[in-house]
């Protein structure tokens, strides 16, 4: 009897912490949404003025905002596709069996997660600069990465996203499909048929969630973008520059829009993977 009351009290304590933590987590989001309806009366949207729908009526009235957001969306989409293409074979191999060198490949996958982003960005920056100054590198890259621009940002974001695709695909493969694969092979299925009919349906949700995560990280990322975008107008770095001069309420509107669209995407992907787990 005494132990069960103990458990109940612990339950209420953690519920209280969860409630307080949710307030902490959502305070900035609520602030952002409230300030998107604000007319600060000055150049900086930091203090509550009067209620206004003006920013919502013309969210792209700020010069360059549309360009910056568009560029960031393009980079995010390309990086997500590249990361999915490059990450899937490695995640699949790592999940399927243990092999000599597998530990080293895992370690390689872990490096982006365990390196301060500023160091990664700095390293990529000096590498891209070197591809323009060292003749040998200039020949093999064809000057693609310098001057900095879309190719360099996409290369950086793909490298970061790759790890997430690998981890997601690997965890889908582990412990799944082995008996099915053996059955299919016993019945004479070729390697490709086995992959297409057995493994692909298993790993597809992993590929999709990894690609979605890469998209979100790319759109979100400031540090790597700051180091590798050069003069290209990307949303986070453009905003960082803008904030010194002005902070129009349109920024809060765009933030709210990104939030709502992402929520919708997550809901859709949850529905897809939910339907698959039912089948």
């Amino acid at each position: 009897m005494s132990s069960s009351t103990t458990i109940i009290r612990e339950g209420w304590a953690v519920r209280l912490v969860i409630a307080l933590a949710l307030v902490f987590m959502f305070a900035p989001v609520v602030t952002m949404i409230v300030f998107s309806f604000n007319d600060p009366g000055g150049r900086f949207n930091y203090e509550l003025g009067t209620f206004s729908l003006e920013a919502w009526r013309s969210p792209f009235a700020v010069p360059q905002l549309g360009v910056a957001l568009g560029n960031s969306l393009i980079v995010a989409a390309v990086s997500a596709v590249l990361a999915a293409l490059l990450g899937t074979p490695v995640g699949f191999a790592l999940g399927r069996r243990k092999f000599v060198g597998g530990g080293a490949v895992s370690g390689l996958t872990f490096i982006p997660l365990a390196t301060p982003e500023v160091v990664l960005g700095a390293g990529m920056l000096i590498l891209f600069v070197a591809t323009a100054t060292i003749p040998f590198l200039k020949t093999i890259t064809g000057g693609l990465f310098y001057p900095l621009g879309f190719p360099s940002v996409i290369a950086a974001h793909t490298t970061l996203g790759l790890s997430f695709v690998i981890i997601n695909v690997r965890s889908r493969v582990i412990g799944a499909g082995v008996t099915l694969e053996q059955a299919a092979r016993d019945l004479g299925a070729s390697g490709f048929t086995v992959f297409r009919t057995i493994w692909l349906p298993i790993i597809l949700p992993g590929i999709l969630s990894g690609a979605l995560l890469t998209f979100a990280i790319s759109l979100d990322d400031f540090v790597l973008t700051n180091f590798t975008a050069g003069g290209t107008t990307m949303f986070p770095t453009w905003l960082y520059g803008l904030m010194r001069r002005e902070l129009p309420p349109q920024i809060a509107v765009v933030g709210t829009l990104i939030f709502l669209v992402s929520l919708g995407l997550v809901a859709i992907s949850a529905k897809i993977s939910g339907r698959q787990s039912v089948n």
Partner: protein, 344 residues
């Protein structure tokens, strides 16, 4: 609910090929864009000509010049990074435990709720913190009008720690939640049958010691090393010790003696995924802090992108990189026998 996959060794296809040819493009990509840049940073840090864009010659001068000069920034990175990591654990640990053990059918929704705020832009989240913590913002503006007290939080170390803690919570929450979920519930039931209760005196003593250490660290960060010997900071340290002592004393033995030891890998992963990004962060310090809260990342960023002192910046980056790698090796020793990617 424990599935066979969680309980035992995962089944693998024994006959499958490793698949090196399929992996080759990815491995080349990672070698070129991950290994080469990091090695090149190390090489650049020994370059003799500080303002050349490519490494030339060999010298130790970059380290000798930059580390003593930016010692305060290095210290800020470690202290602010550590404080934020500890606070993120303080928030995420009970949350992960609560969702895993008391979430019921709301588990997925609750877990998602903690990640939803991160669906908007990183920089816009920091802008929102700037707004919230501003002296005339929605929190402190009305307070000042009502009481006449002006609260200055923006531009202090406290604001940097708050902003960074906020960014780190999900990185701590996810590994801990995964680890807590894998804990065998029958062990918890067995503990209950054996009358497990609260940690009592030993928990209170351990909690007090931990609270004292954390309180001292936070006091040094918030009030500065010299400002700590004042009534306010000392009271803060005392309050931290008392609070942690109370939490330690009333903590259930189920958590302290079963869930916590069985989740070691989750704690290691959470520590790696939170402290290392915290060490290198500079945007929070730049936008929420002041001149004295600037971290090593701020210096590296300025040297690379503004001053074009590549060799000096590389020396500081290499220091950060080596520190992160040492920490990683140390933590990974704790999870030996487990596959690296299983803990993330």
């Amino acid at each position: 609910m424990i599935s066979a996959q969680d309980a035992g060794q995962p089944a693998r296809s024994p006959g499958a090929r490793a698949g090196w040819p399929e992996m080759l493009p990815t491995l080349v990509w990672l070698a070129a864009l991950l290994i080469v840049p990091l090695v090149y940073i190390l090489r650049m840090s020994f370059s003799a000509d500080p303002f050349a864009l490519t490494a030339t010659g060999w010298s130790l001068a970059n380290y000798a010049d930059s580390i003593p000069f930016y010692w305060d920034n290095l210290l800020n990175s470690v202290l602010i990074g550590l404080s934020s990591t500890i606070l993120a654990f303080a928030i995420a640990m009970p949350v992960a435990y609560g969702i895993s053990f008391y979430g019921g059918r709301w588990k997925a929704v609750l877990l998602f709720a903690f990640f939803a705020p991160f669906l908007t832009s990183y920089l816009i989240r920091i802008v929102a913190w700037q707004t919230l913590l501003g002296a005339n913002g929605p929190l402190f503006g009305p307070l000042q009008q009502a009481t006449g007290i002006e609260v200055r939080v923006l531009g202090t170390p406290f604001a940097v720690v708050a902003g960074l803690t906020y960014q780190l919570v999900p990185f701590v929450l996810l590994p801990l939640y995964t680890a807590f979920n894998r804990v065998d519930r029958t062990l918890c039931a067995a503990a209950e049958d054996l009358y497990s209760g609260r940690c009592g005196r030993s928990g209170a003593i351990l909690g007090a010691a931990g609270g004292l250490a954390i309180g001292l660290l936070l006091a040094v960060v918030f009030f500065g090393g010299r400002g700590i010997a004042a009534p306010g900071p000392l009271l803060f340290v005392l309050a931290s010790a008392l609070l942690c002592s109370a939490i330690g004393g009333t903590m259930t033995e189920r958590f302290a003696l079963i869930v916590f030891p069985l989740s070691r890998n989750g704690f290691v992963a959470a520590a790696v995924l939170s402290f290392i990004p915290a060490l290198g962060d500079y945007v929070n310090a730049a936008l929420l802090g002041n001149v004295r809260t600037q971290m090593l990342g701020n210096v590296i960023q300025a040297k690379f992108l503004v001053e074009l002192d590549y060799a000096g910046a590389a020396a500081l980056s290499a220091t950060l990189l080596v520190a992160a790698m040492l920490l990683l090796t140390l933590l990974l020793r704790l999870i030996r026998g487990t596959e690296l990617l299983d803990v993330v």
